[in-house]
Symmetry: C2
Subunit: 329 residues, 2 copies
DNA sequence: CTGTTAGCGCGTTCAG
DNA sequence: CTGAACGCGCTAACAG
């Protein structure tokens, strides 16, 4: 393996000079910089990130924390989008990323988790899909030992940033659009998982809308489950003008139930995931770009690692009219 | 961070002794071993894998290579299963795994890929979803620079093992079961992607069956696409007694087409993925346990890294009768 | 602006 | 069976 030493020799300079060029330090003359770069090119030198990590203590080793599930392919899709976004951006920014699942943290204390991360020389992490109940993670964030970016969770401190779309506003907007279009007076709202941050934010959104417009609002817990949504729709939709769902999956459940009940109610969803095999119905939904969210998170994490202060980043979203086509089309 | 040095001091022994205990070297007295282990426990010491990687040149840093796609959630599901299986097992075996996507290798030469992997101190990799056209990967395997486990690809050399289920036999078996049950005489076979190893293996299976039983066989290329399968079924199924598909997704497409054509034909699939929202039809399928496949692959890779010779590992599979239920049930 | 040097945390001879 | 010493490849003061 060609090392920084070889490059130094070839370029006729000191090792540290090479290091400086590699890391874009200022105090290097144009001339030597050129020589070094040439040597790098000639030798096809690629710096060993492991050695760099060991040496610098502020390396670009980063973990992404994912919530695996065996429930729904929709979540697999979202996770894969997250991964693709994270890893893609990380490569561009010269960060190494390792993937960690929540299950690996199960039954571990904060200290154990900290030691595990440290043993991996990890300096920063991106947390996806965190709920309010994740006490260990909350303590981890509070400890400020690592640079952290949390997705869809409004927590910020000196070394923690939060990247999210404004869930409250998104839910408000998409429901508002649907309701205005259809002149609805009463809402059946199917909420997500209890104690999820997004669940609560979205709930706030629909509550605000109902209040502002003086609409009747019935909230039921759909747990992000298609089946639950289906059942709840059977039970309550008839007496309401619209079914607002906290996820696309639930919206599908609702639509299917409505079709079987043979009544029409506008439906709106959330997420903008890929769904197939459902007959041609339309609904309004909030389209989130999970890949971009992840890639923004990486950028933000990099900024934190480089010494930036924690902050909140709100990304935009779109309201779209989605058509769930049958495969015929 | 507590290091091996602290442990040594605490235990009253030399650093190297600690290292030996940690790595299960033979030449250590029971007495000192005990002392060291105690110190490790007291200090909550966790070895730094990055330093170990840098030092040993034969570390447990391993990459998993995945084929991302934007086509089907079914593939996302399979990939997530692979990941969960790989990472879970890797943690147990003290291996670090980094995830790499095929897209990152795009337009790179073998040398570039090799240097990239080396720059990450990677000593082994597991390759999922490789096709015959992946020339760079084939050269990488031939080079024998890394310890490699390929999934579902029958390539073996000194430092390469292959883990797969016997696709040929599985396809033969599932089709045979369906055909025997229904006394079919002619088969419509919807194959997978061209140049995929699994595609060819499965094709061999159905060919063998047709030959042995003297059945008429029509092979069409379904590209693992639900839509393609649907169209092909519309076009050809009427004249055949059974539709055998090289994937569950295609089987679904076929079933839906059959329902619309309002004719009955037995269908069989492959994969055993989670599918929902399809009305209650039954089919035979080959259930693969992707998680287990991945975890076996990790074990095998570990063996290779520890000096084992490349070999072929064939895992078992099940034939199951699956019912694609509507969400009502 | 450039080179020397001391580690980062650990694995690994090689004397003792 | 144990421990001192060197090196992995790189970064980061500190001299020059």
């Amino acid at each position: 393996m060609v090392s920084i030493k070889d490059v130094a020799k070839r370029a006729g300079v000191a090792i540290s000079t090479v290091s400086k060029v590699l890391n874009n330090y200022p105090n290097v003359s144009e001339e030597t910089r050129r020589k070094v770069n040439q040597a790098v090119a000639e030798l096809n030198f690629v710096p060993n990130s492991v050695a760099a990590a060991l040496s610098s203590k502020q390396s670009g080793r980063v973990a992404m924390l994912l919530n695996l599930n065996n429930v729904s392919q929709a979540i697999d899709e979202i996770n894969m989008q997250y991964m693709a976004g994270t890893i893609g951006q990380a490569v561009d920014m010269n960060l190494d990323v390792i993937t960690v699942f929540y299950s690996m943290l199960k039954n571990r204390s904060v200290d154990e988790v900290i030691r595990y991360l440290q043993s991996q020389s990890i300096t920063g992490l991106i947390i996806f899909g965190m709920s309010k109940e994740e006490k260990v993670l909350h303590r981890l964030i509070d400890s400020q030992i690592f640079k952290i970016v949390v997705i869809d969770v409004p927590i910020v401190n000196g070394s923690t940033s939060s990247v999210w779309i404004d869930q409250e506003k998104a839910q408000y907007d998409v429901a508002r659009k649907t309701i205005m279009e259809n002149k609805c007076r009463s809402i059946l709202y199917l909420a997500g998982k209890k104690n999820g941050y997004v669940t609560e934010e979205r709930l706030k959104g629909i509550r605000r809308l109902a209040e502002e417009k003086g609409l009747e609002l019935l909230v039921r817990n759909g747990e992000f489950s298609e089946l639950q949504a289906r059942n709840l729709t059977f039970r309550y939709a008839k007496r309401k003008d619209v079914v607002v769902c906290a996820s696309d999956l639930m919206a599908i459940g609702a639509m299917r139930a409505l079709m079987e009940m043979d009544i029409f109610r506008p439906v709106c969803g959330f997420d903008g995931i890929t769904l197939m095999g459902y007959a041609g119905k339309q609904m309004n939904t909030v389209r989130q770009d999970f890949k971009r969210i992840a890639s923004e998170a990486v950028k933000e994490l990099k900024r934190l690692i480089d010494g930036g202060e924690g902050r909140q980043i709100v990304l935009d979203y779109q309201l779209v009219r989605m058509k769930y086509l049958d495969i015929i089309c």
